[in-house]
Structures are given as structure tokens and as C-alpha cells.
């Protein structure tokens, strides 16, 4: 191939490199012994001031957080495991709203995963043992996507259900920086 073709191909390859992990389809999910790192509860106040060490994100967060395949699986699980019964399509009902920016128990993916596993005293059921590790993290990834925390190119604009909420690709929300609690 003549020189111009080779140059432009290399340039384009570098530009799109970031695309590949977003599309990675890993339906097996790596087996991780400890589902959720201990102590990842809402860490708003530190006795004697912040301890300086920002909360280390669980290694699984990166694998699930912006992955289109896991978010889509989470979206299907959200409907089939009856989350939609209490939280509707993010607006809430029996359960609190999920598309707003108020997170009683923390808005980071592992905090949401903790809520799903442990349940919460005011009526959130515990799914420990009821869902596999992968499913729980996929649900947590989708819940974050509902409030716009996720990259726009990892979410679908709508589902094949009635049109309920504004397209996920257009929910404006500032991303949550790890270590800093989400409730403004």
C-alpha cells in the first residue's frame, strides 16, 4: 500500500484504541472469592478527619462500570428480577428513586453492589446467594447507568419497552469521583 494509506490507518487505529474494552463480551465473569470489599459503606464522615487514603475501587469496578455488554445484561436483570416493581424505571415507587443524584448508601458501583448483596433495613431485600457475583455487578453497573454516571457510548438510548424515561444517552450527570461520596 502506498505511504498515505499506511499512515492514515495507523493514526485511526490509535484513535479508536479506547473502544475495545467497552465492547468486551465476558459472559462468564471472573470468579472472585470476596464479592464486595469489606467496609465499602457510605463513607461520608471520617472520625478525626479523612484518612488520606482514597477508597481503592474494587478491581471489578473497571470491568463492569463502562462495559456495554454488562450494562445491557444488567438492564435485562433489572426487569426480570423485579427491581422495576419497587424502583420503576429509576423514578422509584416502593423503593427510592435511582435516576436522581441522592444516594443514601453511596453511588459508587461497589457501594451499590453492597446494597444489592446485603439489602438495607428500610425494605431493600438482600440478594446474597440469590444472584451470582456477575449478575450483582451487572445490576450495579446498570443502576449507575440510569443516573447518567456512565459513558454515553456504553448505554443504549432506549429499550423495546414503552417510552418511560428520557434516553440514557442524554441524561446529564456529573461523574462520581472515586473516594468522594456522591451525596452533594
Amino acid at each position: 500500500m502506498s505511504s498515505p494509506c499506511r499512515a492514515s490507518l495507523a493514526l485511526a487505529a490509535v484513535a479508536l484504541l479506547g473502544g475495545c474494552d467497552r465492547e468486551e463480551r465476558d459472559s462468564r465473569g471472573q470468579p472472585v472469592t470476596e464479592t464486595v470489599p469489606a467496609g465499602a459503606t457510605a463513607d461520608t464522615i471520617y472520625p478525626g478527619g479523612p484518612s488520606g487514603s482514597t477508597v481503592t475501587l474494587s478491581p471489578k469496578a473497571a470491568a463492569y462500570e463502562n462495559n456495554a455488554y454488562h450494562i445491557a445484561q444488567g438492564q435485562q436483570l433489572y426487569g426480570q428480577m423485579n427491581c422495576v416493581g419497587c424502583h420503576a424505571h429509576g423514578g422509584g415507587g416502593m423503593g427510592p428513586a435511582l435516576i436522581d443524584d441522592e444516594w443514601r448508601y453511596g453511588g459508587r458501583i461497589e457501594q451499590i453492589a453492597t446494597t444489592i448483596v446485603e439489602g438495607r433495613p428500610n425494605g431493600m431485600p438482600s440478594f446474597r446467594g440469590k444472584l451470582t457475583d456477575t449478575q450483582i455487578w451487572e445490576l450495579a453497573a446498570y443502576v449507575r447507568a440510569m443516573s447518567g454516571q456512565v459513558r454515553k457510548d456504553a448505554v443504549g438510548a432506549r429499550t423495546d419497552e414503552p417510552s418511560n424515561t428520557p434516553p440514557l444517552t442524554q441524561t446529564r450527570r456529573e461523574p462520581i469521583v472515586p473516594g468522594e461520596d456522591a451525596t452533594p
Binding site: S2, S3, P4, S8, L9, A12, A13, L16, L17, G19, C20, R22, E23, E24, R25, A68, Y69, A72, Q75, K152, D153, A154, G156, A157, R158, T159, D160, E161, P162, S163, P166, P167, T169, Q170
Partner: protein, 637 residues
């Protein structure tokens, strides 16, 4: 300077001195910028051809990968997800990036030569179309390499390609690639239609036009009236996936069948857009190698036009299994059967040409014979699947895979390979090797039957399309194994053909202007033709000018300015002298701006608005007339 002093070709200025001055005003400047700025239809045609064959090779490798996976039952060499990506890329690349563009390539190169004109109309649009096509192909394949390739099949049925089940950016890349290739194909169609209607050599009235030109004219009109359908459909799919419109959402009263209707309204004309240029090739090759024009010229022209019209009336035969009212289906069965009549007529006329003429069994002619033997099988299986009760059993099975490979490879690729062998001397000045040509021909013909005939059987044994494996014990082992073996031999045959092309570049016999003693105008100029094609404007008296007495010419076109002659639409009487656009970098820049806009609009809908600004600037610069003509050209009404 008054009109008289302007340098013009004619009795006072002809021969080598004219050639030198014309060479200077028609050739482009060297280097990368010159390469990108060319508007010479021959250079763009060659680039289209090379790029299309690169994509053919890439898609061919994917076909081999699929055959390896399907050679034995219950294999897991290629995983399910990867296999779906591979068959989607194979189908999409073959249909959008090889079949249509390769026919455009040959047409862009040959039509001006066949019509006796110096360039295509809208030469810059022609250059622009190539770069848009190249960008679309690169988008698809870079995405495939980066694991973002589409995996929803070449016709991406909704809702699988919709926002809920078409996860991530895969289907967006497919839909945007369709937009690229459809912009390119539409541009080429506009260029070719205008060239054929307005730039034929004086005297070449419609009934003296080469049959290939008729085929390309009908193909271009079909592109103009069918491609907008897939543009609209993929645009609606993109907006469903990005901004949440509800076109294909069945619950919000959208419909999954809306996609199928719009896609197949384009889909079926698309396969005839690929087939009709091949009809043109066969007519030209048969005429030259049987030493006489094709039998019943007006009937052949009517057949081509009939196919062009009928193609728009039978798209629903792709949707017989979707539960539409049965009475509607019988109309489409009749229409699908009717399209076999003009094809049958053409086959008869070709064979009659052979009957009346004296066939010379050179490689191009062998490909024509192989075309007839193979394509008629495909056409007849097509008649079978036109019937609803049969199609309900055969639809979406490997029987259909066999059918469309017979009509596409048999019907289009065989004539294409014949055409390349036939016009190779005109493009390169050297003949391809006859011995290597025959070897690759027989190898291809034999291995093609070995590969695709067993697929009729595996389809009737219940093997659906697009399965990445099949269970043992269903009798599918033998046909699949044979197909896999055949596929590798087909690949070998293609490698031999490509080797023949490259070896003959240096070691092929010198061809001269008319090695096959053919009758068309393209054989009236040197091989390879100079940038201006013809020193003087040829004048035509019959359908095969070189066979009917010495060629007469017309003088008077400018020499220091690029100029060509426009003729009237029906009788091709000289009408206007049209300036030919200068080479310009702006078509390339506009294609770049369009690419940036299309690709970034996958990630954010606002890119459509922000992308318009650079595109607008590039387009304005493209159309802005260059320097003022130094001498005010006196206006003669």
C-alpha cells in the same frame, strides 16, 4: 486573445506535438498532494478496483475462517460471538465494500473511453466518492480489528440491531458504514448517468451505445432510486440507537417490519445493481470473442431496462415468512418469476451470438461460458424460492446461501474476472498470461461447484443460516466438509488470478491499442490511454465503430485548457464545449470532514451540527471557481 488565436487541435495541430501540449494541460502534479488531488477517472477507477479487491481478499479470508469452523460438527475453534462478527463482516464487506464498488470501478474507468469522451462529468465528485468509500471501508475494518465490529448480520434486522439488543457501538458502526458507502455509490451513479447521457461521442445515438453503457445507465438509475431507502432506514436505526426515537420499537407502535420493508426495497435492487454491470461485461466479451455484435441489440436493451424496473417490485419475497397476508405474497411470487424472463432472453441472445459467430476460447470467453453454466443454476433456484410454499422451507437455510453464491459469484464475479482479463491490456498495456489464466479459471470453476453445490443439500437437511456449528448425526458432516475443502481451493484459484495480474504487469506480452481486434471506441486509443483519452473527438457511425470502416474525427477542442464535448441526449449531436475541472485537494478534504462528522456522530448527536461547519467550508472551497479564466471567452449562443 480572440477566439481564433486560442490553440485548438485539428489539421494544423495534431500528432506528437499535440500530444505533448495536451499531456501538459491534462496531467496532475506529482507527489502525495497531486495523488490526493487527481480528478482523472482512470486513476480513480484503478484505485476503486484495487481497494475493492483488497476488501474482497479480506472478506475471503473471513470466509475461510468460517469454513474452518464449520468443517466438522460441534467444533469450537471460533467462539459464537466471534463467528457472528465474522459472518457479519464477510457479508457486509462483500456486499457493500466489494460488489457494488468494484462494478463502479470498472464503469468509472471504461465508460468515458467507450463513449469516446475525455473525462467523466463532475470529475471532482467522482474523486470525492472514492475517498468517502475508502473511509467507510476503513471505519468498518478498523472497528473489526478493535473488537467493535458489527455482529448483527449484513442486513441487521431490528430489534437485534436495535438499542436494547444491539449492545455497544457495533451496530452503529455498521449503520454508519452503510451511510458512507451509500453516499459514495450515489455520487458515482450521478456521475455515470450524466456522463452516459451527455458525453457520448458525436453520432453515438442511444441505439448505437455499447451494451455495457446501457447496463451501467440502468444500474446507476437503480442506485439513485434504491439507495435512499437504506440511507433512510440506517439513519432511522442510528437515531433509534442514539437519541431514542421509536421507529422500530414495537411497544411504542413502531414496527420491526418497517426496517425489513425499507431494507429490502433497497436490498433486492442492490443485487441487480451488482448483476447488471456483469451483464454488460458478458455482452462486451461475447461480442468481441465471437467476432460479431450481440444478437438482437434492442431486445437486450429492453431486457436490461425490464430487469431494472422489475427489481423494484419484488422485495417482499425476502419476507415470505413474516406473516404478511398470503394474497399479497402471490403477487410477489408472480413478480419474482417474471424477472426470470428478461434474464432468460439475455442468456438466449448470448448463446445465439456464439451460434452465429466464431467463438475464440480465450480466458475472458471461458469466464462467460462459466457464467452461463453457473448463473442459470442460481437463477433457477431463485425461481424455486420465489414460490411461497417452497420458500417457507428453504428461506434462511443453507439452500439460500448456495442460491445467492451461485447468482453473485456465478453471476457477477465470473464476468468480473473475465472483464479484468479482457480490459487488462487496455489498462496496463500488457496481456495477461493465457496459460496461468486458464489454470486459475478451471481451478476456480471446479472448486466453486465443489464448495457451493453441497450447500443446497445441507440447506434441505435443515441447516439454518448463520449457525457457528451444527450437531453430529444430521447428515450435515459430508456436505459441510466438502464445502470447506472447496473453499480453500477457491481461495487458491483467486491467489493464482491475482498472481497473474501482478506477474503480467512486467512479463505480459505488449498489447498495443486493440489486441483482441474488438469493435468498441475504447480500443481506438493507446494502451494505457493518455490522461486526455482521445487527442481528437472521435465520430461514430455505427454500434461497433472499429469494425465498420476507418474512424472519423472532429477537431476544435482547446489544447491549453482541459475541455470536452457535450452532445445531445438522444441523437448525440455536438452541443456544448464543457471545461473539465482542474485537480483539487478539496474533494479529499471534504471527504475527510464528512468522515469526521459521520464517525463522531456515532458518539454524540451534536457532532452532526458541529461537523457541518468544516464540511461546509470544504464544499464551498471545492465549488469556488479557481483563478479567473485569463481571457474572457466570447459567448456564442
Amino acid at each position: 486573445m480572440s477566439a481564433a488565436e486560442l490553440a485548438r487541435d485539428g489539421p494544423t495541430l495534431h500528432g506528437p506535438e499535440l500530444a505533448a501540449r495536451l499531456e501538459r494541460s491534462w496531467s496532475r502534479d506529482p507527489g502525495l498532494l497531486g495523488w490526493l488531488a487527481t480528478v482523472d477517472h482512470k486513476e480513480i477507477g484503478r484505485r476503486y478496483l484495487v481497494t475493492a479487491f483488497v476488501f474482497l481478499a479480506l472478506a475471503g479470508v473471513l470466509a475461510l475462517a468460517m469454513r474452518v469452523q464449520l468443517a466438522r460438527p460441534d467444533q469450537n475453534i471460533i467462539g459464537a460471538a466471534r463467528y457472528n462478527e465474522i459472518f457479519t463482516m464477510h457479508g457486509t464487506t462483500m456486499m457493500f465494500l466489494f460488489a457494488v464498488p468494484v462494478m463502479d470501478a470498472v464503469a468509472i474507468y471504461l465508460i468515458p473511453l467507450m463513449l469516446g469522451t475525455r473525462a467523466t462529468s463532475f470529475a471532482r465528485l467522482n474523486a470525492f466518492s472514492y475517498y468517502v468509500y475508502l473511509a467507510g471501508g476503513m471505519l468498518l475494518w478498523i472497528a473489526f480489528v478493535l473488537n467493535v465490529g458489527p455482529d448483527v448480520g449484513w442486513f441487521a434486522y431490528v430489534p437485534l440491531s436495535g438499542p436494547e439488543y444491539g449492545v455497544g457501538k457495533r451496530a452503529d458502526i455498521w449503520a454508519q458504514m452503510v451511510t458512507f458507502t451509500e453516499v459514495a455509490a450515489l455520487s458515482v451513479a450521478v456521475v455515470l448517468t450524466a456522463t452516459i447521457l451527455k458525453q457520448r461521442a458525436p453520432g453515438m445515438s442511444l441505439d448505437r451505445m455499447p451494451l455495457f453503457a446501457w447496463a451501467i445507465l440502468v444500474t446507476s438509475l437503480m442506485v439513485i432510486f434504491s439507495m435512499p431507502s437504506v440511507a433512510l432506514a440506517s439513519g432511522m436505526l442510528l437515531s433509534d440507537r442514539l437519541v431514542g426515537t421509536q421507529f422500530y420499537n414495537p411497544t411504542e407502535n413502531g414496527d420491526a417490519l418497517l426496517w425489513q420493508h425499507l431494507f429490502w426495497f433497497f436490498g433486492h435492487p442492490e443485487v441487480y445493481i451488482i448483476f447488471l454491470p456483469a451483464v454488460g461485461f458478458v455482452s462486451e466479451i461475447t461480442a468481441t470473442f465471437c467476432r460479431r455484435p450481440v444478437f438482437a441489440y434492442p431486445v437486450m436493451v429492453m431486457a436490461v431496462v425490464a430487469i431494472g424496473l422489475l427489481a423494484f417490485g419484488l422485495w417482499v419475497h425476502h419476507m415470505f415468512a413474516t406473516g404478511l397476508p398470503r394474497v399479497g405474497y402471490s403477487f410477489y411470487t408472480a413478480a419474482s418469476m417474471a424477472v426470470a424472463i428478461p434474464t432468460g432472453i439475455q442468456i438466449f441472445c448470448w448463446i445465439t451470438t456464439m451460434w452465429l459467430g466464431r467463438p475464440r476460447f480465450d480466458v475472458p470467453f471461458l469466464y462467460v461460458v462459466a457464467f452461463i453454466v453457473t448463473f442459470v443454476i442460481g437463477g433457477l433456484t431463485g425461481v424455486m424460492v420465489a414460490s411461497v410454499p417452497l420458500d417457507l422451507q428453504l428461506h434462511d437455510s443453507y439452500f439460500i446461501v448456495a442460491h445467492f453464491h451461485y447468482v453473485l459469484i456465478g453471476g457477477a464475479v465470473f464476468p468480473l474476472l473475465g472483464a479484468i482479463t479482457y480490459w487488462y491490456p487496455k489498462v496496463t498495456g500488457r496481456l495477461m498470461s493465457e496459460r496461468l489464466g486458464k489454470l486459475s479459471f478451471w481451478l476456480l470453476f471446479g472448486s466453486f461447484q465443489l464448495t457451493f453445490f453441497p450447500m443446497h443439500l445441507s440447506g434441505m437437511l435443515g441447516m439454518p443460516r448463520r449457525v457457528y456449528t451444527y450437531p453430529a448425526g444430521l447428515g450435515l458432516e459430508l456436505p459441510n466438509f466438502l464445502s470447506s475443502i472447496g473453499a480453500f481451493i477457491v481461495a487458491l484459484a483467486f491467489v493464482l488470478f491475482i498472481a497473474n495480474v501482478f506477474l503480467s504487469l512486467r512479463r505480459g506480452a505488449i498489447a498495443g491499442p486493440n489486441p483482441w481486434k474488438a469493435g468498441g471506441l475504447e480500443w481506438a486509443t493507446s494502451s494505457p490511454p493518455p490522461p486526455y483519452n482521445f487527442a481528437h473527438v472521435p465520430s461514430v457511425g455505427s454500434a461497433t465503430p472499429l469494425w465498420d470502416g476507418p474512424l472519423k474525427w472532429m477537431s476544435g477542442l482547446r489544447v491549453d485548457e482541459k475541455e470536452m464535448l457535450l452532445t445531445t441526449v438522444v441523437s448525440a449531436r455536438p452541443d456544448l464545449r464543457e471545461p473539465v475541472p482542474e485537480p483539487s485537494i478539496w474533494p479529499f478534504i471534504s471527504a475527510l470532514a464528512l468522515t469526521v462528522m459521520f464517525v463522531s456522530s456515532i458518539f454524540s448527536p451534536w457532532a452532526v451540527l458541529f461537523g457541518l461547519v468544516p464540511l461546509g467550508v470544504a464544499l464551498i472551497a471545492w465549488f469556488w471557481p479557481k483563478q479567473l479564466e485569463p481571457t474572457a471567452e466570447p459567448v456564442i449562443e
